[in-house]
């Protein structure tokens, strides 16, 4: 708040208790960064208190990893993929972090009116969404840890060493956050938990019409074409390069670009939906 606009400063206040109280007005805008931290802290606290919401994100990657490695390892070996567990670890981490968001909590806030309670404060409107995404970043980064433990148990080692592990988590978490725009857009447009749940459907073509099970060279026909267009192909390639091949700029940059494109689309949709919800207010 611009202090020069504060009427208490430019106007001599009458000598009454009320005017005195008003002239001591302390409330002001906290600013984007502080608002963001406040919103994110509450969101992380919600996750910690309701861990049930992230149980699927813990179970599904273990399931995919165990089933895929168990069923396809020999086949993949015959086709020339020597370490199939290392090949599958990126699929596990992607299935852990994709679709994890606070969109359902946002729907609850809209339904209970708490979202309006926040709108009645001077909170920066962008912080209401960005704060949730910051919380998502913390949550998805944390969700990478059990997957890394799973990989270690399966004997996967990182060709890029400890820094590679950090890069692996960073790329996976960035993908997770880039994807959150879709559920947020649906939450803000519809205010419906069922509609948000359906956003998970988007994930299946992304994950299955790609190199999730076999290397690109083994894909044929239309699937090869679709996987070329699928951003997930490049994210998986980036993660695999970190695990198996060492530091390689090409796949890393392509993966980051794919995340950038998906993130730009999804987060744009989310902010358009936020603007739509705030329009008329």
């Amino acid at each position: 708040m611009n202090a020069s606009l504060d009427p208490a400063i430019v106007m001599p206040a009458p000598a009454t208790d009320v005017a005195d109280r008003l002239s001591r007005r302390e409330a002001r805008r906290a600013g984007l960064l502080r608002d963001l931290i406040v919103v994110a802290r509450r969101a992380v606290r919600q996750v910690v208190r309701e861990p049930a919401a992230i149980i699927p994100a813990l179970v599904i990657p273990v399931f995919f990893f165990v089933v895929n490695v168990g069923a396809l390892q020999k086949l993949a070996g015959a086709a020339g993929t020597t370490d199939y567990a290392a090949f599958q670890l990126p699929v596990a981490v992607i299935s852990a972090v994709t679709g994890v968001s606070r969109a359902n909590a946002l729907v609850t806030d809209i339904a209970t009116g708490y979202f309006e309670r926040l709108l009645l404060t001077p909170v920066n409107r962008l912080a209401l969404l960005l704060g949730l995404m910051v919380a998502d970043l913390v949550v998805v980064a944390a969700l990478c840890l059990p997957v890394l433990v799973l990989g270690a148990l399966a004997g996967v080692s990182f060709a890029t060493g400890p820094a590679g592990i950090l890069a692996f988590v960073a790329v996976a978490a960035a993908w997770g956050v880039a994807y959150t725009g879709f559920p947020y857009a649906i939450a803000l447009r519809t205010g419906s938990a069922a509609a948000v749940a359906s956003s998970f459907i988007l994930f299946f073509p992304l994950l299955f019409l790609t190199t999730a099970f076999v290397p690109k060279a083994a894909l044929s026909g239309w699937l090869a074409t679709v996987s070329d267009l699928n951003p997930m192909t490049y994210v998986l390639a980036a993660l695999r390069s970190i695990v198996s091949d060492g530091w390689q700029a090409g796949p890393l940059l392509q993966g980051v670009a794919a995340i950038g494109i998906v993130g730009t689309i999804s987060i744009t949709l989310a902010f358009l939906a936020l603007r739509g919800r705030l329009a008329g207010r």
């Binding site: 109280r21 302390e26 409330a27 509450r42 309006e116 709108l119 001077p122």
Partner: protein
């Protein structure tokens, strides 16, 4: 007693709120939802330090008016200034100065009361020591005790409403909007809210804009009352002025039989100032009830009806409401449930 708004603030005061400007000033405020007109053209002035009761049945436009005045809803047309600032162009300045408790307590059930108060204090950027002191005061004030550290999901309806009120007060607002603050509360919780509303007004000088369906509530708390019906402010004044406008006494006749003829007969009487028919009751405003009763009884004599009861009472705000809108506010109106 008709609605006669003072003139708008001069343009020189356009952006700068002042402590001498009215707390709430609305001119031609209108809001439509598609083809539905929720608020027609609201003209309203509430001075600083007032408790203003905004009375009307469900769907009259009370909540829409409040939502426009507290920046949650953009008016379709018209203007309003709250605490001296425009509700469309200076939303942040308005939000810094108003506290709002909407009809449904808007809380996060998964957080504790204290956490919600702290979050609210942070969003209003209250310095740490001030926030702690303020939160301690509010916990005391709304009588939440140790429950403040429990999750809100475990709270009763009354506790939730009191916490909601506390959230609205964290930043020491100049103007408080209370949208049906006691609807659904038990009588004890209702009295607590009334006490708190009076204390805020008298002790802290806070202007209070209170919507209610309860006539008794408006009567007990408000210095001035506006009645909204069909999206328009139809009448405004102090509760006493409004009641006096109806007449000095009200005679209520309950009948079985031909209502239309009875209504006609009473309206024809020179001693009857107004007469409305509601259900099986005729409500007649007269100068003197005891003098009017025999004449009313004889006017109904010979008509195809039976008089079940005749009673005389002082006019209530419900009678005002009946007169200006042609309908009762509702069976529950005025009753402390």
């Amino acid at each position: 007693m008709s609605v006669s708004p003072p003139s708008l603030a001069p343009a020189s005061r356009a952006r700068l709120g002042t402590h001498t400007s009215p707390a709430i000033e609305a001119r031609g405020l209108r809001r439509t939802f598609g083809p539905t007109v929720a608020v027609e053209a609201l003209d309203l002035t509430v001075e600083r330090g007032e408790i203003y009761g905004f009375l009307g049945p469900n769907g009259a436009g009370k909540s829409t008016s409040v939502r426009m005045l507290c920046t949650l809803l953009r008016p379709t047309s018209g203007h309003a200034r709250v605490a001296g600032f425009d509700v469309v162009h200076d939303t942040t300045q308005v939000r810094l100065r108003v506290g709002v408790a909407l009809q449904e307590a808007a809380l996060d059930a998964g957080q504790s009361g204290r956490e919600l108060l702290e979050l609210q204090a942070r969003l209003f950027a209250l310095p740490g020591s001030l926030a702690r002191r303020r939160i301690a005061e509010l916990i005391e004030l709304v009588d939440l005790g140790d429950a403040i550290d429990r999750r809100v999901g475990t709270y009763s309806g009354g506790m939730r409403r009191r916490l909601d009120l506390a959230l609205a007060l964290v930043h020491e607002p100049e103007v408080i909007f209370l949208d049906e603050p006691t609807t659904g509360l038990d009588p004890v919780s209702r009295r607590q809210v009334w006490t708190e509303v009076r204390r805020l007004n008298e002790h802290d000088g806070v202007t209070i804009f209170l919507t209610t369906q309860y006539l008794e509530e408006a009567d007990a708390l408000a210095g001035r009352v506006g009645i909204i019906s069909g999206g328009q402010l139809v009448v405004e004044g102090t509760p006493d002025e409004l009641k006096r406008s109806v007449g000095r006494d009200v005679v209520v006749v309950t009948i079985d039989g031909e209502m239309a003829a009875a209504h006609e007969a009473l309206r024809a009487l020179d001693i009857v100032e107004h007469c409305e028919a509601v259900g099986d009751e005729l409500v007649a405003a007269v100068a003197s009830g005891p003098a009017a009763v025999p004449r009313i009884a004889s006017a109904l004599d010979g008509l195809p009806l039976t008089i079940r009861e005749i009673s005389v009472r002082r006019p209530s705000l419900d009678d005002v409401f009946l007169e200006v809108t042609g309908a009762r506010l509702g069976a529950s109106a005025g009753a402390v449930r």
